[in-house]
């Protein structure tokens, strides 16, 4: 999977490394900005109130 991505990136090794880094950062951004905020309320780690439900 990662090998496939590496082979399909353009340029020499340095350019590939740079693009890979940018891709990784983009993935982290999407996770922190959209995926984790969505997933968090679904997981039982952060309910602090007492309630009837």
């Amino acid at each position: 999977m990662y090998g496939w991505i590496w082979r399909h990136l353009p340029g020499n090794a340095w350019v590939k490394a740079l693009i890979s880094l940018l891709l990784a950062l983009a993935v982290v951004y999407v996770l922190f900005q959209y995926v984790f905020p969505w997933a968090e309320p679904l997981l039982p780690f952060n309910d602090v109130t007492v309630n009837n439900q």
Binding site: M1, F36, A39, E40, P41, P44, N46, V48, V50, N52
Partner: protein, 252 residues
């Protein structure tokens, strides 16, 4: 990877590749599947690790930033309001005051209305409106000022709730008053459905008559939401805020 081995073996035995080809291609496919599966597992591990970083660090960064901004807004509001604006003090729009708990060692915690995730995720403590309506101290009525805040992540304002001991002060600061409470009961673990801890006379804290109580609730043990940790305090004194906003002796 699978492709190169196939090619290598083909060059070693030229011409005789046709009978063994399907088997080799099958092995290559399995090898590819295993390696993709392995990479997916590594990816999943990294994502879970990032989620821990997100919930224990990043949400704190965001929440503290937001709480600081909102807190500054409230203080600005107080400073700009004229002393004779009277009952306008009960301004629930952007926070009603600040909670100071020296034992928790985390400065002042803004208190806002409601205990929904939206409110609490801003790094503030919220007073209950549901299932039990909290009695606000500035109304002067007897009752229970019940609050909730996060134990971990989103500001983690009640992270050190277990550091509170009997007799420790809890101070609530409003525009006009310092309400000084003293801890008189602690329930280290209770069910999350135990709404009786919030009642205006919290019998589980061992009291029978009406009074001015404060209740702090958060989750326990740390990093989970299995149970709730409850701390009760009773009002001992109300100090008027002076022109320099000198804190009561409990905070110095």
């Amino acid at each position: 990877m699978g492709v190169t081995t196939d090619q290598d073996e083909q060059t070693e035995v030229p011409g005789s590749d046709s009978p063994s080809m399907p088997r080799r291609r099958g092995r290559g496919r399995i090898a590819t599947a295993v390696s993709v599966f392995g990479e997916l597992l590594i990816t999943a591990g990294l994502v879970l690790g990032l989620f821990v970083v997100y919930s224990l660090w990043w949400t704190n960064v965001l929440a503290d930033r937001k709480a600081d901004r909102q807190g500054a807004q409230v203080r600005h509001h107080w400073a700009s309001a004229t002393p004779d604006s009277g009952p306008g003090a009960l301004d629930t729009g952007d926070g009603i005051g600040f909670l100071h708990v020296p034992a928790m060692g985390n400065g002042d915690v803004l208190v806002e209305k409601g205990t929904s995730t939206d409110v609490l995720n801003d790094g503030v403590a919220g007073y209950y409106t549901d299932p039990v309506k909290a009695t606000l101290p500035m109304t002067g009525k007897t009752g229970n000022f019940a609050l909730a805040a996060h134990r971990d992540g989103h500001g983690a304002k009640f992270h050190n709730i277990d550091k509170l001991q009997m007799g420790d002060p809890i101070v609530f600061e409003t525009r006009d008053n310092w309400y000084v409470y003293k801890v008189f009961a602690i329930l280290p673990q209770t069910s999350k459905y135990n709404v009786d801890v919030l009642t205006s006379v919290p019998k589980q804290a061992g009291v029978r008559k009406r009074g001015h109580y404060i209740t702090l609730t958060t989750c326990t043990p740390v990093f989970t939401s299995e149970y709730r940790y409850i701390v009760w305090g009773e009002l001992v004194r109300v100090d008027k805020v002076d022109s320099k906003r000198t804190p009561p002796k409990e905070l110095t």
